[in-house]
């Protein structure tokens, strides 16, 4: 029996591992993903698996090139989750190469060029989405109208293969604008937000997700349920989601109250677009968010504010990905400035002073 170990304690350890954490995040994403796959049918299913498969393959190649243990690192689930989040942020009927290129951007540029797992400054999935959106605006803004599996409108498997491979263009009548996209277009045509809001699906439908958009933008309620599961499991804390949604909601409510013809209402901001997915699954990415609670509050609030600014004042209808990447860039600074208070010290690091003068009694 060997009793000598060359390190200090502790000699007990939590059962939580990196891969168990990733698995739980994926479990939390499952309901919304399954719903999205059903809602957008075979093309979405094919693109989803192409994106995840290529993410894994590219990760394996990169690990091998960098001389890291391929099996162990691949099994930690981080690349799979990156691919998954990316797939959720793509138009569900986008051509296959969008998925592959996206995975390449996420894994190679977003992750390994920074030094691999844990070293990347920016959220890999959002880096990929931003690159794709800027490089391929047409493919990245062509949204399919919901056509649930088994419904009349749903394309067959072979038809779907044709769409995704790019052989057949997606027919005009099968595409539709997203809610945020519609508002933006109408505002640019001089039609007030109030008026165009009437053309949007009712809020209940927005919450349950039967609308066009990426899969991750559809079922706000299911994503919220997944996010709450992660909170219950203590995989994420409330700080980032609450700060993000709170800031976004507050700005939306305030601006809408001031000028309802220009600014969309709070429920639209919270339910449409990627707000919920972003708040619970993207902004909370461990690697690219601050480590302290106070820093997380600022980070979440920053994303919420930037998202609102880009959506309402910028030229893109949805700005969450940009907001996340911009705030990611500030994380090292936030980490530096928002450390917790050390026990027995003031915020400035001085040893606490004893307030009352001790009373001597012998």
């Amino acid at each position: 029996m060997s009793t000598l170990v060359n390190r200090a304690g502790p000699f007990t350890h939590t059962a939580t591992t990196v891969s168990s954490t990733m698995v739980w995040v994926m479990v939390a994403l499952l309901p919304a993903t399954a719903y999205g796959l059903w809602l957008f049918g075979w093309p979405a299913v094919i693109l989803f698996f192409i994106t995840l498969g290529s993410a894994l393959a590219i990760e394996a190649i990169m690990l091998a090139l960098l001389g890291q243990p391929v099996g162990a690192r691949l099994m930690d689930g981080t690349a799979l989750l990156t691919g998954w989040l990316l797939a959720l942020s793509l138009p569900p009927w986008a051509p296959w190469w969008i998925g592959v290129l996206g995975s390449f951007c996420a894994i190679v540029i977003g992750k390994h060029l920074f030094g691999g797992l844990g070293q990347n400054l920016f959220n890999p999935a959002m880096v990929a989405r931003v690159v794709l959106l800027i490089s391929f605006p047409l493919q990245m803004t062509l949204w399919a109208a919901p056509a649930p599996l088994g419904s009349e409108a749903a394309p067959s498997f072979m038809q779907s293969v044709a769409y995704i491979s790019g052989q057949t263009p997606v027919p005009e009548h099968m595409s539709a604008a997203t809610s945020l996209g519609l508002l933006k277009t109408e505002v640019s045509r001089g039609i007030s937000v109030e008026k165009s809001t009437e053309k949007l699906p009712p809020l209940f439908q927005m919450a349950t997700g039967k609308e066009s958009g990426s899969m991750g933008e559809s079922a706000a309620v299911l994503l919220l349920a997944g996010g709450l599961l992660l909170m219950v499991l203590r995989i994420i804390s409330w700080h980032i989601p609450v700060a993000l949604l709170g800031t976004l909601g507050a700005l939306a409510a305030l601006s809408h109250a001031l000028d309802p013809s220009r600014f969309a209402s709070m429920p639209i901001h919270l339910l449409a677009g990627a707000s919920v997915l972003g708040a619970f699954f993207i902004a909370t990415d461990y690697v690219t968010s601050p480590v302290s609670r106070s820093g997380q509050l600022l980070f979440g609030a920053g994303i919420g504010a930037l998202t609102w600014v880009i959506r309402s004042l910028g030229s893109y209808p949805e700005g969450l990905a940009f907001a996340v990447v911009l705030m990611n860039a500030l994380v090292p600074l936030i980490d530096r400035g928002f450390r917790p208070r050390v026990f027995g010290r003031s915020w400035r690091g001085k040893s606490l002073e004893v307030k009352s003068q001790p009373r001597i009694h012998i």
């Binding site: 009793t3 200090a8 350890h13 059962a15 990196v18 954490t21 690219t288 026990f343 010290r345 009694h361």
Partner: protein
């Protein structure tokens, strides 16, 4: 009673049930004990016995050294067969001056001081009580092994109004305090009252973690003896047993960094220490044994054993049925803050709360993987540090950078290492860095000393040279004057003659 919020900490899997229902058993006197002369914080005791000498149980064998130190007593009666360096219960595997006693089988007590059996108020001054506690060699039995009398002396330096009795026992596996509270509540409370009397405090708070309801019940019953005692159940959360954190939880007083709890008017003592104080005052018995939890899935019969100090871990394990063939690690103390034992020949000392034989399934060690910055270490750190950032700096070799963000405020509780999903040995980094930093500090102090000595020497030689030069100049002048005098004698003579 209201509790105060304490930041950080972790929920552990405790496995206390392995030994919590085993009543304390007395270990039969071992054939031989090896009693190290340093079982406490501070300077080692100096041996006062010689090889070949017969010693009685409780006889002084090591007198407290200079400064902070503690007496050491024989734990069995018999013959001193060696006073030499032996393996110490320290992970370094280094040796320590140790008194080896071979038992005569009689287990006869030496002459003990007269017990004080009178009820409260005691017919003794606080000073007398302190002296007795010091003479009995009592140290903090929670694991820190800080000489108790020094803590009781705090009242002469600080204004102390609160005595907190630590029954948190927040380490997994360890149940010795739990059993003591259940079985010897009256003795503990008596010791608490003696210490409170010696400290002249107004408030006494006994704090016990919520996972020990039976101990709480027994202590509550016993504490009825004194209306100034309040019994508090604190949440089960590691490291609640840290003196500073426990004090914050029960009184809201936060101990300033680098200071003692006395600074904020409170002294914290462990329950087993309280019992030892009672034994020393009521029976005159010095600290010669302690209750040790022997546990872990590697031990055949986990138990709480009252062990004579200096008994080898091997004898103790044999008493507990020996080991299963599977254990991978032998730990002295708890699994969070304890240290690996260098050998089964290491002795049980005053600070040994546990001897654990852990299997791989319990230690759950894993291969280290990259940090994913999950921030769990930041949330868990009870000291309010940022372990992820400190570890990064230390890895890079930037020890001063780590120091600047508080590495030396680390209390080495290990919560960060425990919670890390990537199995990064964070606490290990910090103990490495802090060890290195204090070595650097020592070096720097030495360099400073050398520099000032060299400077003094240079100044002295310069001064001496100056004096020499002045003297030489004076001599030269004198010589010149003399030469002039001899060169001009005729005139002088002439003058004289005129």
């Amino acid at each position: 009673m209201m509790l105060f919020q304490v930041r950080g900490g972790v929920k552990l899997s405790y496995r206390k049930e392995l030994s919590s229902e085993s009543p304390i058993v007395r270990m039969p006197t071992p054939k031989r004990v090896c009693i190290p002369l340093q079982q406490h914080v501070g300077s080692p005791a100096e041996p006062v016995v010689e090889v070949g000498q017969w010693v009685g149980k409780g006889q002084l064998i090591g007198r407290a050294g200079r400064g902070i130190s503690a007496n050491v007593h024989a734990s069995i009666s018999g013959t001193v067969i060696a006073v030499e360096d032996r393996v110490a219960p320290h992970p370094s595997g280094l040796t320590q001056l140790t008194v080896v006693i071979e038992s005569d089988g009689a287990d006869r007590w030496a002459e003990l001081p007269q017990p004080i059996t009178a009820d409260f108020p005691l017919p003794a001054t606080p000073k007398e009580l302190n002296d007795r506690v010091a003479a009995a060699g009592i140290v903090g039995l929670g694991g820190a092994a800080f000489p108790s009398a020094v803590k009781l002396d705090m009242r002469y330096k600080y204004s102390i109004d609160t005595l907190v009795i630590n029954g948190a026992e927040c380490e997994p596996y360890i149940t010795c305090d739990d059993r003591l509270m259940r079985e010897s509540a009256a003795e503990i409370v008596d010791g608490v009252r003696i210490m409170a009397y010696a400290l002249a405090v107004e408030h006494i708070i006994i704090a016990i973690e919520a996972n020990k309801p039976k101990a709480v019940k027994a202590m509550r019953e016993a504490a009825k003896a004194d209306s100034s005692i309040r019994l508090v159940t604190v949440p089960t959360r590691f490291p609640m047993g840290s003196a500073q954190h426990l004090l914050l939880a029960v009184t809201g007083r936060e101990t300033p960094a680098d200071k003692r709890t006395a600074e904020v008017g409170a002294v914290v003592h462990n329950v087993a220490t309280a019992r030892a104080v009672s034994m020393a005052i009521r029976r005159g018995e010095p600290l010669v044994s302690r209750v040790v939890t022997v546990s872990g899935l590697g031990v055949r019969e986990p138990a709480n054993v009252e062990v004579p100090l200096g008994t080898s871990v091997e004898d103790l394990l044999t008493f507990c049925g020996g080991l299963h063939p599977v254990p991978t690690l032998l730990i002295g103390g708890g699994p969070m803050m304890g240290a690996p034992l260098p050998s089964v020949h290491a002795p049980v000392v005053k600070g040994s709360s546990g001897v654990l034989a852990l299997t791989a399934s319990e230690t759950n060690e894993g291969p280290e993987s990259p940090c994913i910055r999950c921030g769990k270490c930041v949330t868990a750190c009870p000291a309010g540090l940022v372990p992820v950032e400190m570890a990064q700096l230390i890895r890079r070799g930037d020890l001063q950078g780590a120091k600047a963000i508080g590495s030396q405020d680390c209390i080495a509780c290990g919560s960060c290492s425990f919670i890390c999903p990537s199995h990064i040995p964070l606490a290990h980094y910090f103990s490495f860095a802090n060890g290195k930093l204090s070595a650097l500090d020592r070096d720097a102090r030495q360099q400073d000393r050398i520099r000032s000595l060299v400077q003094a020497r240079n100044e002295r030689t310069a001064r001496e040279a100056e004096i020499k030069k002045a003297a030489a100049a004076a001599r030269k002048a004198a010589k010149a004057a003399a030469a002039k005098a001899t060169a001009e004698p005729p005139t002088q003579l002439l003058e004289e003659s005129t």
